[in-house]
């Protein structure tokens, strides 16, 4: 049964979820858990909170799948839920800036890329922490467009659909986010990049 479901499109899966098909939901959650978790992690800077919030978002998807109108892609709808959750619930306890150091994450074995296996100097680790802190200090919308563009590789068009903005507005937000970061990181940025 699950093998059959695995071959189904997102649209078919979400119809199953709307009909409270737990197998369809599990496959959809398996498919999107990585993206959802990493968007929230990069937005909040906190791994533990990111997992908790990601689960809350999937609970929301479970309960509101029947309200999906099939006017957009399922992925766009899911990303929209994530973005709205992050932007609207920022004042609640769950989303607060709490940057974890790379040490903390590495000790827990939570970083998965190959580069993490390489030894990072103390200086490099501190740099990473400063970069994450700088990102976390960006205004929420700047941070969100940056996360979607930079880490989820979403096109400006897709971001505009997810965030309900025009493409020029997305272009402008992304540029301003980058400009703010360059400014905030300028002392270190010049040293590190040699520019």
């Amino acid at each position: 049964m699950e093998d059959l479901l695995k071959n189904k499109s997102d649209e078919e899966l979400i119809k199953g979820v709307a009909n409270k098909d737990e197998s369809a939901f599990e496959i959809l959650a398996e498919k999107y858990k990585y993206s959802v978790l990493n968007i929230i992690y990069r937005y909040t800077g906190n791994r533990t909170e990111a997992e908790d919030i990601s689960q809350d978002i999937f609970v929301k998807i479970w309960h509101s799948a029947d309200s999906f109108k099939h006017k957009s892609k399922v992925s766009t709808w899911i990303y929209r839920i994530v973005v709205n959750y992050c932007l609207n619930f920022k004042n609640k306890n769950k989303i607060n800036a709490n940057i974890q150091s790379l040490d903390e994450l590495s000790e827990k074995g939570e970083i998965i890329t190959n580069s993490s296996k390489e030894h990072k100097s103390y200086e490099s680790q501190e740099t990473d922490k400063i970069v994450r802190e700088s990102v976390n200090k960006l205004p929420e919308r700047y941070r969100m467009v940056l996360v979607l563009s930079r880490f989820e590789n979403k096109s400006y068009q897709e971001i505009s659909e997810i965030m309900n903005l025009s493409v020029p507005a997305v272009e402008s937000l992304i540029f301003r986010a980058k400009a703010n970061l360059k400014k905030a990181l300028s002392p270190y940025f010049n040293k590190k990049t040699g520019i």
Partner: protein
Amino acid sequence: MKKECINPEKLSAFLDGELSEQERENIKSHVKDCPLCQKEAQGLTKLTELLNNSFLPIEPSPYFIPGLKQKIEDNEPMPAKITINDWISRIKHSLVPIGATALILLSFVAGNRIGNILYQKSSTAQEREIYTSVESSILNDSPESSLTNTYANLLPEEGER
């Protein structure tokens, strides 16, 4: 930055792989010969590298899906317990439509019966009247010496009945 330099927003979009083919070609040909725009582009590229190194992706824990299922289970609304008062209330609410339907049906049956009785009474009287009038007129039209006329003479007159 020189006046004719590329708008930094467009340069940023260019580095993100956006813009039309024509715009991309225009930017490429300009940046090739413009040290200021080259420096700006290098800065943005380095920033991207910094971001990529600082935000390495994380893996969901093995408990992600089981934890999610548990959360859904915890969030499901519990079926409400039905008390005796609820049952009484439900019965009370059902009594009104049932009573109204029964009343309507009873009205139909009663009306039908009453109508039948009244119709039977009136039709019997009418039939008798028609019969008498037809019978008299036939007998009166018979020839004087006929058996029918003789029988008609034996019948009581209209006022004597």
